[in-house]
């Protein structure tokens, strides 16, 4: 059961990655973050229903699309609210969130949907004899999440553009003086954010049902994972996601209504006791 929680944590970490990157590089908090995940799941679903192909293939279509959407949003909206009074940032992204949710509601009605992965969703893996059994799907999902984090970590730590990310995060004005085109960096960062959250949304849709209004809850999970794990640390976000996942699973065992509540309470406790998070640092790594 705890392992289930850990595996769910991987999913939460994937949601959180985008939030972490966009905040680290641009100090942007995008309230529509969760809605983008849900939107991607719906688009994947439309694709699958239209073509009859597996959702895994849909990933290859939706992800590039989400990168483009991310760049589009950055250019049209977010570039105007980076660096200025954060209230406008919040209001703008809040408005965007409402708009997206209701567009989805209008297009797809309030009925929940799911992405059909056939048998894969039910297969399980036995570890340690018959006592510990984990689903193959959650395991795959977790592995993908870790892979994404590893890739991102390498990107930020080792490449020229990754260095530019960190420099921009430290001091955007001076980064400009180094020849870094800040708008370009922001666009890439946000594209990464939207792509990872789209992937997370699709994986979520493969296992559970999703509906138009799910976005905000996902935003909160992402947010809590980042805070618990610590701002500025990608691996911290993974841990944060895992802790949240485990807390929720334990909560659900006690009482189904307590699932979210326990997660929130753990978050609040971490906030009170160690506000910088477990691995909190000041910068993006």
């Amino acid at each position: 059961m705890i392992i289930q929680g850990v595996l769910v944590g991987g999913l939460y970490a994937m949601y959180a990655t985008g939030l972490s990157v966009s905040f680290g590089v641009m100090r942007l908090v995008n309230l529509a973050h969760g809605d983008l995940a849900v939107g991607s799941a719906f688009i994947a679903s439309t694709f699958c229903l239209a073509t009859g192909l597996s959702p895994f293939l849909a990933i290859f279509v939706v992800l590039p699309l989400s990168a483009l959407v991310g760049i589009g949003l950055q250019v049209a909206i977010f570039n105007r609210v980076v660096g200025v009074d954060p209230s406008f940032q919040i209001v703008a992204t809040f408005g965007l969130s409402i708009a997206i949710q209701n567009v989805l509601l209008q297009q797809y009605t309030a009925n929940p949907r799911a992405l059909n992965v056939g048998d894969f969703g039910n297969r399980s893996l036995k570890l340690v004899g018959d006592d510990v059994v984990i689903g193959l799907f959650p395991l795959t999902r977790f592995v993908v999440a870790v892979l994404v984090l590893v890739l991102l970590s390498l990107f930020i730590g080792r490449t020229r553009i990754g260095r530019a990310f960190r420099a921009t995060s430290d001091d955007p004005d001076i980064a400009r003086l180094m020849g870094v085109n800040i708008r370009f960096i922001y666009a890439v960062a946000f594209a990464i954010a939207v792509t990872t959250v789209a992937l997370a949304g699709i994986f979520n849709g493969m296992q559970t049902q999703f509906s138009a209004a799910d976005g905000p809850a996902l935003l909160i999970y992402a947010f809590e994972s980042v805070i618990i794990g610590g701002l500025g640390s990608l691996w911290g976000t993974l841990c944060g996601g895992i802790i949240l996942g485990v807390a929720q699973t334990i909560g659900a065992e006690i009482d189904p209504g307590w699932k979210q509540l326990i997660g929130h309470l753990v978050f609040l406790i971490v906030l009170l006791v160690r506000p910088m998070g477990i691995f909190g640092k000041d910068e993006l790594r």
Binding site: R163, D170, D171, D173, I174, R176, L177, M178, G179, E283
Partner: protein, 236 residues
């Protein structure tokens, strides 16, 4: 061989104008000092040349081309590098990574990591140290080294002596001739007039955003400099 020509520059921050009708020339290979008291506009002048401060009026011509409407990164690509006031190195990057970011523009030239480490041996021992763990002098060396990595033709040094012990300042200024030898021109802005004047061949003094005195350091008397610096007895 005028590398940089600043003509009748007026610049400022929003509603606050800091420079009024400033003109300045830098020849290829020269070292120019800009001195003045706090708030005289020296930093603003460098920042206008680098492109981080908006120009209200006037012209900046670099290598025959007007650069007034270019973004900072475009000016860097043409060879203008600024070592900003207060060091402003990237805290979370290591010494080596700071230098790498300096080379982001991929401009070709003599400067590379090895040469920077040779010129600043203190940095060579700290390549993997996080930049925020360096001392003031080391950070200043890093800031200069980082700017050099872009192989600039014009290096703008904004108050590099600020907050550093005199010995360290002396060491830094000893390195400057080596930089000039590679074909880079320099403008240094300083509050410490002695150091700046002894290292340059032409000087400008700014007072409240205007040029109050200019000339070869050898031709300027102490009294002239003092009155131009402080504005005593100067007819406005």
């Amino acid at each position: 061989m005028t590398l940089l020509e600043v003509r009748n520059l007026s610049a400022g921050y929003g509603q606050f104008q800091a420079l009024f009708d400033v003109s300045l020339n830098v020849n290829e290979g020269a070292a120019i000092a800009v001195i003045g008291a706090n708030g005289a506009g020296k930093s603003t002048l460098l920042k206008s040349i680098a492109g981080v401060v908006d120009v209200i009026f006037g012209e900046i011509i670099f290598d025959g081309e007007s650069i007034v409407n270019l973004q900072p990164h475009e000016r860097l690509n043409r060879g203008i590098a600024l070592v900003p006031e207060g060091r402003r190195i990237f805290r979370s990057l290591t010494v080596d990574e700071n230098l790498s970011i300096g080379a982001y523009s991929r401009r070709q030239g003599v400067w590379n990591r090895e040469l920077v480490y040779e010129v600043f041996p203190m940095l060579a021992k700290l390549t993997d140290r996080r930049a925020d763990k360096l001392s003031g002098g080391e950070q200043q060396a890093l800031a200069i080294g980082r700017a050099l990595m872009s192989n600039p033709r014009l290096l703008l040094l904004d108050e590099v002596s600020l907050g550093l012990a005199p010995i360290i300042v002396k060491k830094l200024y000893e390195i400057l001739p080596r930089i000039r030898a590679t074909g880079c021109s320099l403008i240094y802005v300083e509050q410490d007039t002695n150091q700046a004047l002894s290292a340059s061949e032409y000087a400008y003094c700014l007072l409240e955003g205007q040029v109050s005195l200019e000339g070869k350091p050898a031709d300027l008397s102490r009294e002239q400099i003092a009155s131009a610096y402080f504005g005593i007895g100067v007819n406005k």
